[in-house]
Symmetry: D2
Subunit: 343 residues, 4 copies
Amino acid sequence: MYSFVCDYGEGAHPQILKAMVSANLVQTDGYGEDQFCDKARSLIKQHLNNNNVDIYFVSGGTQANIISISSSLKQYEAIIAAESAHISTSETGAIEATGHKVIELPTNDGKINAQQVADIMEMHLGDVHNVLPKAVFISNSTEIGTIYSKEELLAIRETCNRYGLYMYLDGARLGTALVSANNNLSMSDLCDIFDIFYIGGTKNGAWLGEAIVVVNDNLKPNFRYNIKQKGALFAKGKLLGIQFIELFEQDLYFKLAQHSTNMGIHIRNAFISNGYQMFSDSYTNQQFVVIPNEMLAKFDEKYRTTIWCPYDENSTVVRFVTSWATNKEMVAQLVEDIKKFKE
Amino acid sequence: MYSFVCDYGEGAHPQILKAMVSANLVQTDGYGEDQFCDKARSLIKQHLNNNNVDIYFVSGGTQANIISISSSLKQYEAIIAAESAHISTSETGAIEATGHKVIELPTNDGKINAQQVADIMEMHLGDVHNVLPKAVFISNSTEIGTIYSKEELLAIRETCNRYGLYMYLDGARLGTALVSANNNLSMSDLCDIFDIFYIGGTKNGAWLGEAIVVVNDNLKPNFRYNIKQKGALFAKGKLLGIQFIELFEQDLYFKLAQHSTNMGIHIRNAFISNGYQMFSDSYTNQQFVVIPNEMLAKFDEKYRTTIWCPYDENSTVVRFVTSWATNKEMVAQLVEDIKKFKE
Amino acid sequence: MYSFVCDYGEGAHPQILKAMVSANLVQTDGYGEDQFCDKARSLIKQHLNNNNVDIYFVSGGTQANIISISSSLKQYEAIIAAESAHISTSETGAIEATGHKVIELPTNDGKINAQQVADIMEMHLGDVHNVLPKAVFISNSTEIGTIYSKEELLAIRETCNRYGLYMYLDGARLGTALVSANNNLSMSDLCDIFDIFYIGGTKNGAWLGEAIVVVNDNLKPNFRYNIKQKGALFAKGKLLGIQFIELFEQDLYFKLAQHSTNMGIHIRNAFISNGYQMFSDSYTNQQFVVIPNEMLAKFDEKYRTTIWCPYDENSTVVRFVTSWATNKEMVAQLVEDIKKFKE
Amino acid sequence: MYSFVCDYGEGAHPQILKAMVSANLVQTDGYGEDQFCDKARSLIKQHLNNNNVDIYFVSGGTQANIISISSSLKQYEAIIAAESAHISTSETGAIEATGHKVIELPTNDGKINAQQVADIMEMHLGDVHNVLPKAVFISNSTEIGTIYSKEELLAIRETCNRYGLYMYLDGARLGTALVSANNNLSMSDLCDIFDIFYIGGTKNGAWLGEAIVVVNDNLKPNFRYNIKQKGALFAKGKLLGIQFIELFEQDLYFKLAQHSTNMGIHIRNAFISNGYQMFSDSYTNQQFVVIPNEMLAKFDEKYRTTIWCPYDENSTVVRFVTSWATNKEMVAQLVEDIKKFKE
């Protein structure tokens, strides 16, 4: 059975594997202080159009979130996030385990807005009996595939400025957001908007790896201590550098994101044109479809997917995820089946 | 310049790279629940001669220590370790960051002994104003290349039994310990001695990866929650499984350890036969040599090494580390130079 | 101006002060190991009708919550509470600071119910990517003055049994709950329902002090270590014991609660009979009244109260709190003013 | 039997009790925002000869240490202390429980010196694999009754300046240090030397209470959040203010310290003049005497003391502690017995 379960079901893009083989016996220092990581940092800075940032590579998204958030907060400070955010629901209380509350905001589309942030601040300011919110957590694309417009992000940025908040981006699926047809945000906007963010590699063609970008000068000093303390400073750090060189030396990062996004849109369009309702307005690589319960078995026979949540008594939200490696023919077959199953 | 700086300066053994390439496009579930990890677990259990253990793969040693130790302790409990232990000196307070004191014992040879553990327990028992020691941290081989005899470990085990302590092994360099000429410990002894331990891959031929083995039934329930919370549950967990299959399907793990150990012994013997004093009785892949200060430059010109610590006013302890990838010809040249520099 | 701001605005009941003076020069050991604490423990056990509990005295409610909850949970475990619970809104993230998530449930009346707990468990069970809920937090009376019936608590207890959850009571205002006209819960029920709870002294006539009662045998071993580690083990622990002797040697605890409750009910009845809407069904010492905004100034001129929250565009929820020391004449005057202001 | 076990065996000085009775029914706001705390703050500032400090009252020394230290450190930062320091041995790992390593320095006299601090800094600076020391912990008087000279403290201050370290004073027994015959430090020196410190009330005549003084502007913002989060913000905060008014309105604080110190010196002199060896050079209220084992029973029959540690095979270090309430006649009798037992 072909799997649309996730975007981390396969390994790495062949070009990355080739680079790993080629660099294998080069002797370097450990812990990210090597020529590969240095070159990768330099390439990413070019894409960001910003030389005044510090870049560190870690292995996964939860790790990037733990390090970035816990190092940004004083012990009584908290972070604001959507109730559907990865740190709210999918990291086993990792942020709380570092001592900080996640203030969860209601959301229907996976996003939060500037007004919600302002309201939370007004509720909390000056009340020593409650936590002091100090950061805002954004994921783009979100956990249900939606993306933020540049204007939405700038409005949140303005609110953050007003209340002295850090603005953080979980970019696990940043690639698919940036290449989405509806997107008007670019790589070179990121440093203007976010104080700290990470560019996800694991879900966009790398074996593993996320690049944390520290923009705000307040957050830069001694940042590597945070990485080491959380067990995230790789001995063979070059493994991460080698992969990010391949992703950003040319446009591989964007090409892979475009492929997975295109595959997602094919699936989306097929469902819509066959009368299905979509659970979220996703123009990225994750598609959430409302499927009548009596039809679930048909899909399950041929495809592996994820049951997201019940929609109502008669139907269920099912997640289809595509990746850099998703097979075009299999998508074509799924598209055909969507039509066929309906008949 | 050739580097004897560390055992993580190169990539992975070619056989491992080949397996990564071959498995690259196989679709699997994430987070370590795949056929590769399952097979790797099964192979390791055979080597341990024990089916009643739980095995998890994480990316690095500090991570393995954080997860294993923090999940073993209640909030007021502490771990006992040598003052030179990795958790004492080289993990940026990672254990304390999870809330637990590391009680540091003095050591000359990198090891601790049963009497020291008993003494600490007698000092602490019944004193609610002090932490309650609940675990003992052992590294084998140690941070200065020495190894424990089976008898030494069994004596500590007996003390742990007497005081209700968990006994934990940091096996970052377990391979080189097991193949050392002086060793009388075997893989199949480990589950009899330790409640929890990890088998190090990163410093023995893998790109990255350590296998945590949970032996004590008390420590088993919900162990994966600990891994996820600390950001150590890899999305593409199979990357770790693939590597451990190669290491343990045949005897690659031990062959690679034997090579690095042999290279270390060549270097050791060369220094000794040229009248140098060794800083530790290491028969493993790390050699610590007392080098007169006026000779340091000669070595520095041709070889990269680590200044470990001053020995006295006139001489310095220098560390030479070999790895699975250390080049025989370069070692031969170093051996020759040791002699030549002396003339 | 007379204050109805809180139930901790005055000092201690004179009988308690007298006992403090009388015991002042008796030499005792420190840290709660003295004859006063022992006697107080014994008296409380009689009131609980249970000798098989461990009792510890600490200085305040947040401290009692920190110690009780953090010592009950493994690092990946969480506690379920109402979104209005003290640990959710009024302890500056104290529980999260010990590493644990507070899962907040929506509530209108300050209470949570068994079904909500069951629903949360069904959502979380088996998902290693989310925290594991392991305890339920109850406050009685609640933060808005409501109380639980015995039946409601038993239903939650049953759900806790089904899912293996600890059930914890924050009894900061337990006294006023137990003497409320609507109450059917008794002191001797507490050990049947809760695994651990505390009896609040600070808000019921003591200078300071809460008695933590540990019922569940799993939570008993080494409990004092938790108290000491959180800085809550008083050197002069007898100060707490002396006070709890007075509260529980006769029925002072209940008499004081009855007084503050009666005063609260007088105020409640006065508002209702003058056509005011109450924000919560409180028959305890906290009364929440919806007051038209144009009338706020009248009350503010003569009485100090707390603005709780806006009710709608035209009215505001105001909190009136009474205590063991609330002056009957001042309440009579307030009752009169309520009527007069309306005219 | 008369007790020389500790300086917290009795209650509070009668003048303090009287003030508590007198203020008992005054209605105030909670959480330290009342006229009593305000006045106490003002009085302490006069004694410190410094108006530019922030002062907070908490209930005990461990709490003061937890709050002051954890709020001063970033997550990867550590504090340097003597191995005999209260935070090293007597707080159940409270500092580590907030995530921070205590770096323990060897000491014979309970003190640490500037050179030790400098050496630790040189060992740690620039090593991302180890914690970053950021604060120095001083207790004065120390845990074995010794005191620092002003010159010793200034030398440490200079070292702290050189390395960017905060210097913290645990003043649980500050009173007895300041009135000691050998002392050349004054209250008005404290703000010049320390970034943050606390003045101990519990061990010098109060029922309970320590005054945290925040000197360094970096540590001031939002300090109360730290207090609340650790469960140390008293509802009836005025209880602490009332006591500190009495201690510092006149010179009660110093008079009580003088009494306990005098009593300690009497005991010291008696032991010395009868040929006993003292374990530490203490001119404060704690005396550590080396007593031959065969004489221990004689003392135990009439006096309660603390066995501190074995001295050698034949003798034991015994601690005698005096307090503000220590009875002169009982000391006179002890002095006589010291002589008599020797005969």
